[in-house]
């Protein structure tokens, strides 16, 4: 197990290094001269040359890559052109909002998807099974941007039930200012006992959370159903059935635990995937997270910011994969040998 963990960690680091090289290549290919962007629109040729020198753009590609690597490793991810702040600081302020949305959506997806999958497997081939399968496929086929717009139309425009955009009512900053602890609105409101912001925050969370949850809910329901049916087909379950145990007992005592193991391993990956899916949803709901930041950066061709977002999401992917592999290794020691 120890060797397996070390090997996986080293491989994860190698992949992150590869990603850094790839983002470097992309940033070099992006249109626009970073020196011109950096010096500003009214810069003289001398100032642009000065900026080029300061940014190290007059050295060889390999030297630049070396600088880039040390910068990433020491926490210097460059300065955003449009916010004029260090990219890492920008990411740190934006990430909590995205994480809050993704975590809320994942909790919802697991709370709905797992029971739905169990019911489907339990009533295989019957109406509930068919319903869960159809809804599960609908969930993974749903264009997130479209669902977001349709929900906005129904619940905001037609019914007037929920707020259209943002994370909470900005007017509350005057009457009930929120003290930042974690940077996430709802945990902060809970921790500081800020009821007004909590209520407003929950109202703002409902629609984006539903949209982000659509895909993972469908995915989890399908996965739970499939793995549960696999386990139910095994010999020890048949033996238990022949011995006369009730099917509810078999499901709860024998089948559920081994069937839920794949869900545990897939959660980190779902989290990373949902983080990207969130981007579109954030843009439509003006949610102040990484997605809105990425959209702003792309529209202003802000290279350091685009690269920063790409890098942080890719790192989430790698870490998600790593955690999934390690959990798999813990749950099923055979996996570590492969």
């Amino acid at each position: 197990m120890g060797r397996y963990v070390t090997r996986r960690l080293l491989l994860g680091l190698a992949v992150i290094a590869g990603i850094v090289v790839l983002t470097f290549a992309i940033s070099r290919l992006l249109p626009g001269d970073p020196a011109v962007a950096w010096a500003g629109p009214r810069a003289s040729p001398e100032q642009i040359a000065q900026a080029r020198h300061e940014l190290g753009l007059d050295t060889s590609a390999l030297a630049q890559l070396g600088r880039y690597f040390t910068g990433i490793a020491t926490g210097d991810w460059g300065v955003s052109v449009h916010t004029k702040r260090p990219v890492l600081d920008d990411l740190a302020t934006r990430l909590p909002a995205s994480l809050e949305l993704v975590l809320a959506a994942l909790v919802l997806a697991l709370a709905v998807g797992i029971p739905a999958g169990i019911v489907a497997a339990h009533r295989r081939g019957r109406a509930p099974d068919l319903a869960v399968r159809v809804i599960g496929v609908l969930g993974v086929s749903m264009p997130a941007f479209w669902l977001a717009l349709i929900l906005q139309m129904l619940f905001v425009d037609r019914l007037g039930l929920l707020p259209i955009a943002g994370q909470y009512d900005p007017a509350l900053d005057q009457t009930a200012p929120l003290t930042h602890v974690t940077g996430m609105v709802i945990p902060d409101a809970l921790l500081t006992g800020n009821v007004a912001v909590l209520q407003s925050g929950l109202e703002h969370l409902v629609l984006p959370m539903l949209v982000v949850a659509a895909y993972p809910t469908g995915y989890v329901a399908r996965l739970v159903r499939a793995t549960l049916l696999d386990v139910l087909g095994e010999d020890h379950v048949t033996l238990a059935r022949a011995t006369g145990f009730r099917s509810r007992t078999i499901l709860g005592r024998l089948a559920l635990k081994p069937a839920l193991a794949p869900i545990v391993t897939v959660i980190p990956l779902l989290l990373a995937f949902a983080l990207v899916n969130t981007f579109l949803v954030e843009i439509i709901f003006s949610w102040p997270g990484l997605g809105s930041y990425a959209a702003e950066s792309i529209s202003t061709l802000d290279v350091p910011a685009i690269v920063g977002v790409t890098l942080i999401v890719a790192i989430f992917y790698v870490v998600g994969n790593l955690v999934a592999d390690l959990v798999q290794g813990l749950l099923d020691p055979r996996a570590a040998l492969r």
Partner: protein, 298 residues
């Protein structure tokens, strides 16, 4: 001979129908997905014949009929320059479906040989191929597509390149696993001992045994690629107007939303139905071809 031909044809038709019927009973979702996907392909191919106003698929303008709500004359209403939305949605499949086909064909073209080589030879070749694949896998499809689309000018071609660039690694992984298992089997071992050349071994003996997995994967990916392509177009990184791509249509309709609700609702519904149909088909195909799933279905 001439007398038996119609009889034979009708017997064949009966048998095909009977088979389709028995399959539909065993796997209603596969049958529904297959029928829906088939209908979508037929409607897409026949769009010029079905569409009430074929000229509206392009740059035609009818200012007098701008932004009409759905009616008998315009089932899905009309857009801001008076084009019939039903026509444009019908033509949308002529962009999305070929994109999905080309992306998956391209992904197989890159992924299958790489996976075959990595899985069959193993060792350092395997290590190098798989680590490069891991780097690309760690890039979320949407993000790499965004970055690539920012480098290249947005068009259908760019979208195809961007999606393919993030899709092929999955095929390397899949085929590598298959090729490893097949390569270690005793009949491949025997063929090798008999002196069968390596390329022949790879393409005649190993590859055919991996193809089922490829078919299952492609059928499962169709819906996902359609969805990704629509997403890129929605962000303005794929098809550009006046091309009636579904994602582009939703994006254009956003300006008139929610008052002119039909402009967003119907093209989006088309994306959902197409992805749903192909995902159902993919699930059913896997259940049918994957022996492990067969046991499960029993």
């Amino acid at each position: 001979m001439s007398a038996t031909a119609p009889a034979r044809a009708s017997a064949l038709a009966t048998r095909t129908l009977w088979r389709a019927g028995s399959m539909a009973r065993r796997s209603p979702l596969l049958a529904a997905g297959g029928a829906l996907a088939f209908a979508i392909v037929v409607v897409t191919l026949a769009a010029p014949l079905i569409a009430p106003y074929p000229a509206d698929a392009g740059t035609a303008t009818h200012p007098a009929q701008a932004l009409l709500a759905p009616s008998a004359a315009h089932l899905f209403g009309t857009d801001e320059v008076g084009r019939d939305l039903f026509t444009r949605v019908l033509y949308g499949g002529r962009v999305s479906l070929p994109i999905a086909a080309i992306v998956l064909f391209g992904s197989c073209l890159i992924g299958v040989p790489l996976g075959l080589i990595a899985g069959y030879f193993g060792g350092w070749i395997d290590e190098v191929v798989m680590r490069v694949t891991d780097v690309f896998l760690a890039f979320p499809p949407l993000l790499l597509s965004l970055a690539l689309a920012a480098v290249l000018t947005p068009s259908v071609k760019t979208a195809v390149i961007a999606i393919t660039a993030t899709w092929w690694p999955w095929y390397v992984r899949l085929i590598r696993g298959q090729a490893r298992a097949v390569g270690a089997s005793s009949y491949v071992e025997t063929a090798r001992l008999l002196g069968v050349s390596t390329p022949r071994l790879l393409f005649r003996h190993v590859l055919p045994n991996c193809l089922t997995a490829v078919v299952v994967q492609v059928s499962q990916d169709l819906g996902g690629v359609i969805l990704t392509a629509a997403t890129l177009s929605f962000l303005g990184l794929g098809a550009q107007g006046p091309t009636p791509e579904w994602g582009t249509l939703v994006s254009e309709g956003q300006d008139y939303f929610p008052t002119q609700w039909w402009l967003v609702t119907f093209p989006g519904l088309a994306i959902l139905i197409a992805a749903f149909a192909f995902n159902l088909l993919g699930d059913g195909t896997r259940d049918m071809l994957d022996p492990k799933a067969q046991v499960r279905r029993r």
